[in-house]
């Protein structure tokens, strides 16, 4: 019994669901195990901005009571999860890791939070992130530095670095993150877990604090593909509060897992194996492709010719939208307000100068510039045209193949502080993930090996719009054949 309780935090959601159903464990046991694990590792990892032990035990007890009465709600009932701090949680401070939202307590739940609550999930805490989800290392948090559980002198990736580190450290069973240019997949790769950016419109964005509205998408981070599918099934679907959410039924993703890859065509884009890429990453991904071929899929080379323009287009579009989305943080209504302003303009300037971090300010300036009269045509409109071309690349490729395989990030997790003073180098961390957001397609990252230093490497599986089932099939077959996902960081 003691042994069970001690190792309980290491299990997956689907394993926990089985054991909960069999009444071998209770949700309170599970929650206690996770919270004590957090206590153990959090001083070294610092994944959480806020812990919610009281709420967690209350919901866990309610889940146990339901189960006793034979009214359990499904696989997520009583499962401890972590939530990225840019998802609005009713009555719980939501800061986006920004000083400017310090003290902001939303009077509403994001749609995904409401769905998880209805499914019985237990929220153990809100996780750290790059401020307003802008970054690839979680170093842009205004509050703390999250460490990579595999090597604590390294970044956990970002912006959902807190969620990824918490999952990898077994400090929760699964987590939600958000992905605007790679912010779920790149930290998942850095931390050796699974992360999915769903198709744009698959998951409601209502209550996700917006960074770039046309690119943002909420998605799960989990220990394996099955858990990822389970979480997506719980949070996906149409929402009348989000006009951009798709009115399409949510398939039974779990049923797709075991279908295998036999007969699938997988595309390997030649533009994604570029110079400057870490050789261990390239090697791991090439081996992964052969493994998948060995499982019965056919690999073909495809071309995504406009890939090289993706980062440029992305940093115009995302910053343009951000410059507008972040205008509401003005010190008037909620969150931080600077002291000692002498008039309205001064209040705006002081509040925003003091409230936002350097990277956020950099992006607001970039976006404001791109949208300015006289520059709009050359920047914003041109970038939109590039976006259309990139989407066209994928449309053509997906006429020939069912999924596309690429590395998730060009290198394994880099060292803390290594790129903070070089924004351009930092932006290149997302070189393989950004096109997916521009095209609105789904993509998943899962572990496919380790670098010589023992750092996890991520394989990215890209699918057609609303083709998450095919992604899950492919990823699950590979995962079961390799078992990289079973490796846990030495904490």
């Amino acid at each position: 019994m003691k042994m069970t309780a001690m190792s309980l935090h290491t299990i997956t959601i689907h394993e926990a669901a089985v054991r909960l159903a069999r009444k071998e464990i209770s949700s309170v046991d599970l929650t206690r195990a996770v919270l004590s694990r957090i206590e153990e590792v959090e001083p070294r990892i610092r994944a959480y901005l806020a812990l919610l032990p009281e709420d967690a035990f209350r919901t866990a007890e309610a889940a146990d009571a339901r189960r006793r009465q034979g009214k359990a709600r499904g696989p997520l009932d009583g499962i401890p999860l972590a939530i990225k701090d840019n998802l609005c949680t009713r009555g719980i401070e939501t800061t986006c890791a920004s000083k400017i939202l310090k003290g902001f307590v939303p009077p509403y739940d994001a749609t995904v939070i409401g769905k998880l609550r209805a499914a019985g999930a237990v929220f153990v805490g809100k996780t750290n992130m790059d401020e307003f989800a802008m970054g690839s290392s979680t170093e842009n948090s205004a509050f703390q530095q999250t460490k990579n559980p595999w090597a604590q002198d390294r970044i956990p990736g970002g912006s959902s670095g807190g969620s990824a580190a918490a999952v990898a450290a077994d400090a929760c069973l699964g987590a939600l993150g958000s992905d605007t240019g790679g912010s779920i997949r790149q930290p998942a790769a850095c931390c050796g877990i699974v992360g999915l950016k769903p198709t744009y419109g698959r998951v409601s964005r209502y209550g996700l604090v917006a960074f770039a509205s046309s690119l943002d998408q909420i998605g799960p981070l989990a220990k394996d593909v099955e858990d990822t599918a389970l979480l997506l099934a719980a949070i996906g679907g149409h929402d009348s509060k989000d006009s951009t959410s798709a009115d399409l039924p949510v398939p039974n993703y779990r049923a797709a897992l075991a279908r295998g890859v036999k007969g699938l065509k997988v595309g390997i884009p030649k533009e994604y194996f570029v110079e400057g890429m870490d050789p261990s990453v390239e090697a791991a991904v090439r081996v992964a492709v052969r493994t998948i071929e060995g499982l019965g899929a056919e690999a073909v080379e495809v071309s995504l010719p406009h890939t090289e323009y993706a980062i440029a287009a992305y940093y115009i579009l995302a910053t343009s939208e951000a410059s507008s989305n972040l205008a509401r943080y003005d010190g008037i209504k909620y969150g931080f307000r600077a002291e000692g302003a002498k008039d309205l303009l001064d209040l705006y300037q002081k509040t925003r100068s003091e409230g936002f971090g350097a990277e956020v300010k950099r992006r607001i300036m970039l976006g404001t510039y791109s949208l300015s009269a006289g520059y709009y045509e050359a920047y914003y409109r041109k970038a939109q045209q590039v976006r259309t071309l990139i989407k066209g690349d994928f449309d053509r490729a997906f006429e020939r193949v069912d999924v596309i395989l690429t590395p998730t990030a060009p290198t394994p997790a880099f060292r803390l502080g290594e790129k903070v003073d070089d924004p351009l180098q930092m932006y290149l961390s997302d070189i393989f993930t950004i096109s997916v957001n521009l095209a609105g397609i789904p993509a998943l990252s899962l572990p496919c090996g380790f670098s010589p230093e023992g750092l996890p490497i991520g394989l990215q599986v890209l699918g057609k719009p609303f083709g998450e089932e095919t992604i899950f099939r492919t990823a699950c077959a590979y995962e079961q054949a390799t078992e990289w996902y079973r490796r846990r960081p030495p904490l």
């Binding site: 986006c96 209550g207 509205s213 951009t244 507008s324």
Partner: protein, 478 residues
């Protein structure tokens, strides 16, 4: 030789739409509630919220665009207009920029007997801002967000207007149309209908455009006319004194009756418009357009023309009666119930309107129904009651809700058309006023009215005027 100038004016009108809920959330649009009680996370711009478009607001905009003869875009798009102000909680207004709902329409106005066609550049949908309140605190300001997100329709005219009078006429005609469509209550004083003007001048006959000034804060038809008259005169004065017009925004000050400079172009905003990514493109297909088109009522211009044609009314009457759809409907119902059109027109424009104004009642709620008014008018025509007494009858009908017959019977107001009775009354009057009779017969014929008055007084006004005149003339002649 002195130069003669003409003004070039374009109007930008904002109309608050009469939808029950706001443009992008479910909050009520009701006016005059306690500050910040008609709000939700969406309309006060909390983090993470998203707009959902109000379909009725789109329908109202389509309806207006169709009524103004606009082409409707099959694919509309919303855009963000970015600027900082405390009454704008998101830091941007959701508006339309490229692809507005309607374009290339026109509105006809009649000024000085001439028809002027004023082009409509665009009709688009956007949201209102809140209100900053500066009273009640020492250097403290408050924001009331009840109005945030209330649907606004912007109607932009071509610079086809040449005089202040035309501008006022354009506003009146536009308001009339908006009211006919029941999309806006058209109340300029309360701000549900607002008007900004771009004004420039040029030498008459020139095709060039001068530098324009934007004039704001004209919250009545009277102020539109006065402000523009002032602004045109101001610009002519500046030019004639050798000065230059600067591009700027000017506010109408109704107390001093002048326009004053608010900000120059150098301080003008760059709104950084870009497509609103939180809303999908607005698809207005043929079927939807047709559905809305079928709900269009007969518009003021068509109704005016028909009233002249069908009821043989003077143009003046037709203009007055069609000012609102309800007055027109009331007139038509009265005629349908058997009244003669001219009599119905006179009484509705005159007595009915007077009584309604006294009590501040709308014509829809008039206690005298068109059927009952028609009944009274028939009683005048058939001589039961005199036109003069009918006013007393109508007043009583208005107050008591009874019909004409009941009031006439109750108050004994039936006209005396009995010759014998009138002869008696006349004889008595003449007997009492021998002096005047002698004077009359000596040639002082203007005393005729005196005798009429005396007989009327004696009969409490019930004498049939025609008959009285006839008999009195004979008796006076001796």
């Amino acid at each position: 030789m002195t130069t003669r100038y003409e003004a070039v004016i374009g109007l930008e009108v904002h109309a608050q739409l009469l939808t029950r809920s706001k443009n992008f959330c479910g909050c009520s649009t009701r006016f005059g509630k306690m500050p910040n009680t008609q709000t939700c996370p969406v309309c006060i711009g909390m983090p993470g919220v998203l707009p959902v478009l109000n379909r009725t607001a789109v329908e109202y905009a389509i309806k207006t665009a169709l009524a103004l003869g606009c082409a409707i875009t099959p694919h509309g798009r919303f855009a963000r207009k970015n600027y900082f102000y405390p009454d704008l909680p998101k830091g941007y207004q959701i508006s339309q920029y490229e692809l507005p709902i309607g374009t290339m329409g026109a509105l006809e106005i009649v000024v000085g007997g001439e028809v002027h066609r004023i082009g409509i550049t665009r009709v688009h949908l956007e949201e209102d801002a809140g209100k900053n309140l500066h009273e009640g605190g020492d250097g403290v300001s408050f924001v009331d967000m009840n109005r945030c997100g209330v649907p606004l329709m912007e109607i932009v005219s071509e610079p086809d207007i040449r005089t202040a009078e035309e501008a006022a006429a354009y506003m009146r005609e536009l308001r009339s149309i908006l009211r006919y469509l029941e999309v806006c209550d058209g109340n300029m004083e309360q701000g549900s209908l607002r008007c900004d003007a771009n004004v420039s001048i040029r030498p008459e006959g020139s095709a060039d455009l001068g530098v324009k000034a934007e004039v704001k804060n004209m919250n009545s038809f009277k102020f539109v006319q006065k402000a523009l008259e002032y602004e045109i005169a101001r610009q002519i004065r500046v030019i004639e004194e050798g000065g230059r017009i600067v591009q700027e925004t000017r506010l109408w000050d109704p107390d001093q009756e002048i326009t004053v400079s608010m900000r120059s172009k150098e301080e003008a905003h760059d709104y950084r418009y870009f497509p609103e990514p939180d809303l999908v493109p607005l698809v207005i297909d043929e079927a939807w357009q047709e559905e809305v088109r079928r709900t269009l009522p007969e518009l003021p211009a068509a109704k005016r023309e028909r009233f002249v044609r069908q009821y043989a009314l003077p143009k003046y009457d037709a203009d007055e009666l069609t000012a609102t759809a309800s007055t027109a409907a009331s007139f038509e119902a009265t005629v349908k119930a058997g009244a003669s059109p001219k009599a119905a027109s006179n009484w509705i424009m005159g007595e009915i309107q007077r009584l309604l104004n006294l009590e501040s009642i709308a014509i829809e709620a008039c206690p005298v129904s068109p059927e009952r008014l028609a009944e009274l008018l028939k009683r005048i025509e058939d001589g039961t009651v005199s036109g003069k007494l009918a006013k007393t009858v109508l007043e009583a009908m208005f107050k008591t809700g009874k019909d004409a017959a009941a009031i006439i019977a109750e108050q004994g107001l039936t006209q005396i058309s009995d010759t014998a009775a009138l002869e008696r009354a006349i004889a008595e009057v003449l007997a009492r006023h021998q002096k005047e009779l002698v004077e009359y017969r000596a040639g002082k014929e203007k005393l005729f009215g005196f005798f009429v008055g005396q007989v009327m007084k004696a009969t409490q006004g019930k004498a049939n005027p025609g008959l009285l005149n006839e008999i009195l003339k004979k008796r006076l002649a001796g």
